[in-house]
């Protein structure tokens, strides 16, 4: 009887989940001008410092093991926050790509397709990185494929560059703009 109750509840939860997930799809397309305002600027230098393995080595040597673990955990949480923010930005860029993909101009459509695909790939890679970071937090010094925390950080370096590309508001690092109106 317990199994039946569980499955009936699972059925209704699944129904609610389907309707909830479908709701997002059924909503009208977001206004891209408003979306652009939601791109969050990211402090690239701060992120670079955060994932610098030399900083980690210094902390490892300067702090007691328990203290180091606590600090390292906090640093990893901050890295996860950065990646989540970048992932959100990628989602917004994906909307731009999707809109451009429907352009009658083939070159604009192709650029839109490329941007949308890149954003999807970024979100996939970001998900993997975040999962590995959480794993490294749960099992210190370990991870998928016995990846060390330092290696995990090293792999994050590609994200740093990507974050730089996605920076939006700082004039010195502002990304260029591809005209589409031609």
């Amino acid at each position: 009887m317990m199994i039946t109750i569980i499955l009936v509840l699972a059925g209704f939860l699944s129904l609610a989940a389907v309707l909830f997930l479908a709701k997002g799809h059924a909503e009208p397309p977001a206004n891209l001008a408003n979306l652009r305002k939601r791109i969050r600027p990211l402090d690239l230098e701060a992120f670079r410092n955060l994932i610098d393995s030399r900083d980690e080595d210094f902390l490892r040597g300067a702090l007691e093991r328990s203290q180091f673990r606590a600090v390292q955990r906090a640093r990893m949480m901050a890295v996860v926050e950065y990646i989540a923010c970048a992932s959100g930005n990628a989602a917004i860029l994906h909307s731009f790509g999707e809109a451009a993909r429907h352009s009658p101009n083939p070159s604009v459509a192709a650029a839109g397709q490329r941007l949308a695909n890149s954003a999807i790939r970024f979100r996939l890679n970001a998900l993997q990185c975040v999962l590995r970071l959480y794993l490294a937090m749960l099992i210190p010094g370990a991870g998928v494929n016995k990846m060390s925390v330092a290696e995990g950080y090293e792999r994050m370096t590609a994200l740093v560059a990507l974050l730089g590309c996605m920076q939006y508001k700082k004039p010195d690092t502002q990304i260029s703009v591809l005209p589409l109106a031609s």
């Binding site: 199994i3 309707l19 352009s103 949308a116 589409l180």
Partner: protein, 253 residues
């Protein structure tokens, strides 16, 4: 069966079939049967199944074989539903070439995970007082619904996370199946436990769920594709692709 319930029963039995005939016509007129052959076959099969079951139920001499027809239809439609889910996956992933490598693992691992879950539920299910054939059929139906729900939900979750765009018709088919599988999971779970008692009420809920799904399919077939948002004057020129290549090479190193 009261007069009202009998009326409801026949309405909910006949109406989906009538609507599915319209769906078949729309699929044929818009040439969508080429793109969604299994969904078309499923729709046609359900219409034929209705005609066969209706005739059998009205014939006094054939009434004894009604459930054999019903079980056969359930088996065929379950197989076709898995085909439709494959068709949905194929369409969604074909629109995003970058996800080509994700399709097979997502289907394989989700199916494996939900099969294990379904079989573990079978293992722990106590045999009820229900008719043994009822029990077996509905436990199997319940298991297939668990896997189907899992597949549809995993696709919707992945699509939501990755912001994948869908063909409107495919989205409607997936939504209809999501609703149908979820309701049928709950109903099959109850049926495997109570057997033929509360039969009519469960039939009505089941047929109501199916009717809702058919309405969803029809709605998404009739309504036009949504206009994409106007193209912005400029889009950020982000060289995501090159950096993604770098990131992937680092991740697989």
């Amino acid at each position: 069966m009261t007069h009202f319930l009998r009326y409801m029963f026949y309405c909910l039995w006949i109406a989906p079939c009538a609507l599915q005939v319209i769906i078949l016509i729309l699929l044929a007129r818009r040439g969508l049967y080429r793109k969604f052959p299994i969904f078309t076959a499923y729709t046609a099969f359900r219409v034929c199944e209705f005609v066969a079951l209706f005739c059998v139920s009205r014939s006094v001499s054939l009434r004894t074989v009604y459930f054999q027809f019903y079980y056969l239809g359930l088996g065929i439609s379950t197989a076709l539903r898995f085909g439709i889910i494959g068709e949905i996956f194929a369409d969604v992933f074909s629109m995003h070439g970058v996800l080509h490598n994700l399709k097979r693992p997502l289907i394989r691992w989700t199916t494996a995970a939900f099969l294990i879950l379904a079989f573990s539920f079978v293992f722990y299910t106590q045999r009820s007082n229900a008719d043994p054939s009822w029990f077996t059929v509905f436990v199997l139906d319940r298991s297939s619904n668990i896997v189907q729900c899992g597949l549809v939900l995993s696709l919707l979750v992945a699509s939501r996370y990755l912001r994948l765009s869908w063909n409107r018709v495919v989205f409607g088919v997936a939504l209809g199946f999501g609703v149908l599988c979820s309701l049928e999971l709950a109903i099959a779970a109850i049926r495997s436990q109570v057997g033929s008692s509360a039969h009519l009420l469960l039939d009505l809920v089941d047929m109501g769920g199916y009717f809702s799904s058919v309405l969803i399919w029809l709605y998404y077939l009739i309504t036009p594709e949504r206009r994409p948002p106007s193209i912005p004057d400029n889009i950020p020129d982000v060289d995501l692709e090159a950096w993604n290549d770098e990131l992937e090479s680092l991740l697989t190193r």
